[in-house]
Subunit: 727 residues, 2 copies
């Protein structure tokens, strides 16, 4: 046993390390490829700078080709790879089996589609799809390891594996292990085993470590640092008087986040409405992504409208420049200081910084909402992050204009840092859209600075309060649209009776109102039926009969003993065998039949074994077959009437039972905690019904509406409270 | 319903806010008081600087008085306040009821005792007791709110409340909301509801915010910053070549942490061994803390041995100086640079920095291990944190000596920052002792710098691996010593049968092998019995009988209907009423009895009500009483034979059931997830046994030993692996 344990435990660690390393490699390769693609894109744009028309064509066609390639590739290889993947994982982790979502095909489609999407410069995110990719990787890897070690794992472990996969996915996406673990917990789980926190932490740290070390080896960075490192001053990061501005960012981001979710849903619902246009688009799948890309690329064309919205900046450049340490309103109009870098894109000689920031925010807002609905692997985290950063920067620049000399404290003037506002805005908006608070942690890890921790957490909490009162999270919204079988969280104080949600009227239950002995998997039953009527068993049975006939006198009591055993367990609900004494009849019938068929079979088998070559005996063969088929038919019908040998089925002796008067609260907790898809309701040991996930969800819907309304009432109070506190 | 929901929800938020504010106030007041106390201590020491003997007496007696006051105060008010409190909370959150641990008395004892302990300058921590304080505060607050709103809460909510309390406790202890939530999750829970994460985050942020704002108002800080803020350079925090040193810190801290837990346990076990000395110490409770304080204070006396181990530094000054930005080996011997502050205590003119650091580490190591066993409220987190910081600093200074010119990279020489090593050491050692990884997060929040994130996480993980392989965590160790009923975590791959752990032999179960209908709380049953035999019911019953006799003809069928209803439910296991037809007999008996007693009672009552003054009628009274007592005895015996009215008992109609062949893994998961203390085992609806927490623990112990052994084997592999990777 000890030896077995060591092997087993070793495997878990090896699994985590392998998962971390492989995902770090995937993440880095993807980043590298898409960065090279974007470099090529900008190089083409630069080389054609003399001719605006050619420049425009290149600027538009490059992303169109990539996006359409990604779309068609996903459609052909694995349509499951389309979209974010987090809603589906949330459902899978809830215990529901979604087919084809965790296959190698989906992995390939997602990786290649995502790389193409990221390389196109469109506002599509990496985080969501990466969670899906890592989960597939974890599932496939664990299957491989199970194959090599020959150990079967229980369904509990399957959840454990996927949870770790999610954590690694977020963690190595941007090199943020801690935020990754927390974000994946918040987004995917309702109840969480602390041992998975540890495992996720381990794997994500390993993964992020390798991811960052790879970029050091590639000379992208001098040492292991944050991805979007900021250099704000640390001795006095902000003053208490700035807190109202942070609170305003939080509350506004809450509203904006809810609006983003609403807008995204409207676009999806519009595309799903059955009318002539959508039918046309469904038939020609490439037109929708093509048109969207065309419009977005046209608007961001740098010599055109793009100059008013920093259109030349690729997503990552946007973040880096929005987080920079300059105050744009101050340097606007004067000669550009050294070290400004890509941030110069925001400073148009004729147009104010505010207008550019506002235009950028408004245009990117709908662009992001629309582009995340394209049929390619795309997340919404990064686009929303950029939106939030630009909004925060806007507020920061306004603050810097309102207090041009900074804030006086203890005789020292501290100027305002708009970059800090941008970081807070980014965390708040992503928090509002995803309904998580760990975006703050991701922000610290991304920027490498934690000095704004308290205002950022306050802003994220405020944004969450507002957004949760108005809309479901983006992932829940997609779950609702796709009608995935997910059980939402229960509010407090809702105690109902499980009996009410139990479907008592199902006829199959009423007809057999018996003691619940166990449950059998449907596939198991199918396999058994197949085997029961299979050729192997038939032949085996017939040979057995022959022997039995010879030794009939001796064996008679043995077979009867067997029948008795069988009777005890045949009361099982799923088998549904009638207990009338069809038993002896079928037995004698079988014997009489087998006497005849046996001779034929024996002849047939002897022929085959003696000759080993069928070609010469085809006539004999055909004659036999016709007789054969009739025989099989009769035999099968006879066999179906017989009670099955239940010993050979894998019955779950302890299916999940609820007693009749269990409260809805308890039922909900059990379903959520244990990831059940159904439970049997018993009363004094007798089976009275089955509660499926569907029923619990139905019961829950009624409560859900109340919950949101009341939350909304509260949030208006909380805003007032916070404003009072900070002013 | 909606109105009810709004009130209810509002309460939850108000609860969180109130909890946050009150704990922030408690934390700040405690910090303020203990800081003032330490200031007074140092002031006395400074004022007496001419006379070494007086100085010594003051240096020794001041902490002795405070510690002995704390010890006797706790002993008198609430002995439950002694120690850390985290092990007890872990057990309470597991679902076990520990009496007197969550009372206002314990709160007061803990707050005052802890303030005195912190004010004495001894190496005692604030974090553990503060978790306990916050939990008491949460429990008391929720009781108050339940009282005002008149709503009864289910046991699920009780866990929710305590979980949030723990998070707030760690969060506002040092103003580390994020690390607080994570640390409390890791330390106290096995399975965790994500909604509590959100609530803990909210309350802890609020609390930390108020805590830090208070110190800004008090002019301790200019703005909201970290408690132990560091100012390491950020552009190149460390080089990849330094990683082996970080890994060595992690691994060594793992060993040291395990050794600390072992040492602490040995001290406790020695004190518990029954011999003459311990008996003497138990009788005179103040001698042990007094002697320990005397020895520690004598050794740290600054003009004496204390000068070789920076004895004059109070715990917080230690941390601040260990995290500073100087390289002590470089400035040692030369004139002290400006801005060095308290760090000058580490620079003895004659003794090398290494010797002082080593002496400090060794002396403080056993001092911390011993002082946390004193009978006062004291945690081990902060002392261990200081130990880790000094160890890290030692390694850092060694590295700075090995590479005196720093590390060459890209033509620039980057010098080594020993302070960064100290931060990593602190995180690693606390992580090893508590078996958590979130100490890294606490470190970021405490220092306000996140640039060392990856090496710190690697070090913490390595330390955890080593320590988990060698010893249980400090809290688990205390749980084992105190024999608290806690269910440890299950390793992977252990599938046994619950049947084995179910105590089938309990006679009460076998005797009544019936259908399980429900379970009744023992206190509920007691209350019912009391009421059943109470004077009120007796009088009520007798009056009823009188009326019944008058209307006997009419009521006869009604009472029979009642009897039938009763029969249906009296099969309940706990009631254990026999179903022989004792029913009618007792009824007639009662009637015959009550006819007599009724007259007496009536006389007695009429007398009392008419007179209102007993003095004049004492003779009558005495006569009556003797007769009365016999009557009552007879009546009580008669009543005990009657079946009870089960309708009036609160039966739980859905006690937790397991089926006979449930695997141990499933049983363990259910017990952990749902916090059960016992579950009924049924077979085909019939009750066959009860599994209590104790049995599951017993079964688990066998597996536990295997688990640790295998972990140990693995960790040696992992060290080799990590070293290979980093070198």
């Amino acid at each position: 046993v000890q030896r077995f344990l060591v092997t087993k435990l070793g495997e878990d660690w090896i699994f985590l390390v392998l998962l971390g390393v492989s995902m770090a490699l995937v993440s880095w390769t993807m980043d590298y490829t898409s960065a090279k693609s974007l470099q090529l894109y900008k190089w083409i744009h630069w080389e054609l700078r003399g001719n605006v028309l050619l420049q425009y064509l290149a600027w538009v066609s490059y992303p169109m080709v990539l996006i359409m390639f990604a779309s068609s590739f996903c459609h052909l290889v694995a349509p499951q790879a389309i979209g974010s993947g987090i809603p589906e994982l949330k459902t899978i982790l809830r215990g529901v089996v979604l087919k084809e979502y965790l296959t190698l095909k989906a992995f390939i489609a997602k990786v290649i589609g995502l790389t193409a999407g990221l390389g196109s410069g469109m506002p599509v995110g990496k985080e969501g799809p990466f969670v899906h990719i890592a989960s597939i990787c974890a599932a496939v890897l664990s299957k491989c390891m199970m194959f090599f070690s020959g150990v079967n794992q229980s369904p509990y472990c399957y959840t454990d594996i996927l949870t770790v996969g999610c954590a690694v996915g977020v963690g190595c996406c941007f090199g943020t292990p801690l935020g990754g673990v927390l974000f994946s917990i918040e987004v995917t789980s309702t109840y969480f085993a602390v041992r998975n926190y540890w495992r996720g932490y381990f794997a994500a740290t390993f993964s992020a470590f390798i991811f960052r070390v790879l970029s050091v080896f590639n000379k992208d960075a001098v040492t292991i640092t944050a991805l979007f490192r900021t250099k704000f001053r640390m001795d006095f990061p902000f003053d208490l008087q700035e807190l109202p501005a942070f609170a305003i960012i939080g509350i506004s981001c809450g509203f904006l986040g809810a609006f983003f979710v609403w807008l995204n849903r409207q676009v999806v619902l519009f595309m799903r409405k059955p009318n002539a246009m959508t039918r046309f688009l469904t038939r020609h799948r490439l037109i929708f992504p093509g048109v969207v890309t065309l419009v977005i690329a046209t608007l961001t064309f740098p010599p055109g409208f793009g100059q008013f919205m920093a259109g030349e900046l690729m997503p990552r450049e946007c973040i880096n420049s929005l987080f920079d340490n300059f105050t744009w309103t101050k340097i606007w109009g004067s000669p550009l200081p050294p070290g400004l870098g890509r941030s110069s894109a925001w400073l148009h000689p004729d147009v104010s910084v505010f207008v550019i920031l506002l235009l950028f925010f408004v245009m990117k807002f709908w662009m992001s909402a629309v582009s995340t609905t394209m049929p390619i692997p795309s997340g919404a985290f990064m686009p929303v992050f950029i939106l939030g950063a630009s909004f925060g920067r806007l507020v920061g620049e306004i603050m810097a204009t309102l207090f041009p000399h900074g804030i006086l404290f203890d005789g020292i003037l501290y100027r305002i840092i708009p970059g800090g506002y941008a970081v807070i805005g980014a965390a708040a908006l992503t928090g509002a859209v995803t309904h998580t608070v760990s975006t703050a942690v991701i922000c610290f890890e991304l920027t490498g600075q934690i000095s704004h921790i308290l205002p950022m957490m306050v802003a994220v909490i405020l944004a969450n309060m507002v957004a949760q009162g108005l809309q479901p999270s983006l992932y829940d919204s997609i779950i609702q649209i796709k009608k995935l079988p997910y059980l939402p969280e229960l509010g407090f104080g809702h105690i109902r009776c499980a009996e009410r949600s139990c479907n008592r009227d199902t006829p199959e239950v009423h007809k057999y109102s018996m003691i619940l002995l166990g449950s059998i998997d449907r596939s198991e039953l199918h396999a058994l039926c197949d085997w029961w009527l299979s050729a192997e068993r038939r032949i085996f049975r017939q040979e057995q009969c022959l022997q039995e006939q010879n030794q009939y006198a001796k064996d008679s009591w043995e077979s009867f003993a067997f029948v008795d055993e069988d009777d005890e367990e045949s009361g099982d609900k799923v088998c549904q065998t009638e207990r009338v004494n069809v038993h002896k009849e079928s037995k004698t019938l079988l014997e009489s039949l087998s006497n005849q068929s046996l001779l034929v079979v024996h002849t047939y088998l002897q022929m085959l074994s003696q000759v080993g070559n069928l070609a010469n005996y085809s006539v004999v063969f055909l004659q036999l077959v016709s007789y054969w088929l009739v025989q099989i038919k009769e035999w099968e019908e006879a066999e179906m009437d017989k009670p099955m040998e239940i010993d050979q089925i894998r019955i779950d002796p302890s299916p999940f039972q609820l007693v009749e008067r269990t409260s809805l609260h308890k039922t909900h907790t059990l379903f959520s905690l244990l990831g059940l898809s159904h439970a049997y309701v018993t009363s004094i040991g007798k089976l009275v019904g089955v509660v499926a996930l569907k029923e619990v969800r139905k019961c829950h819907l009624l409560i859900f509406t109340f919950f949101y309304r009341s939350l909304f009432l509260f949030y208006s109070f909380s805003i007032l409270f916070c404003l009072n506190l900070t002013i």
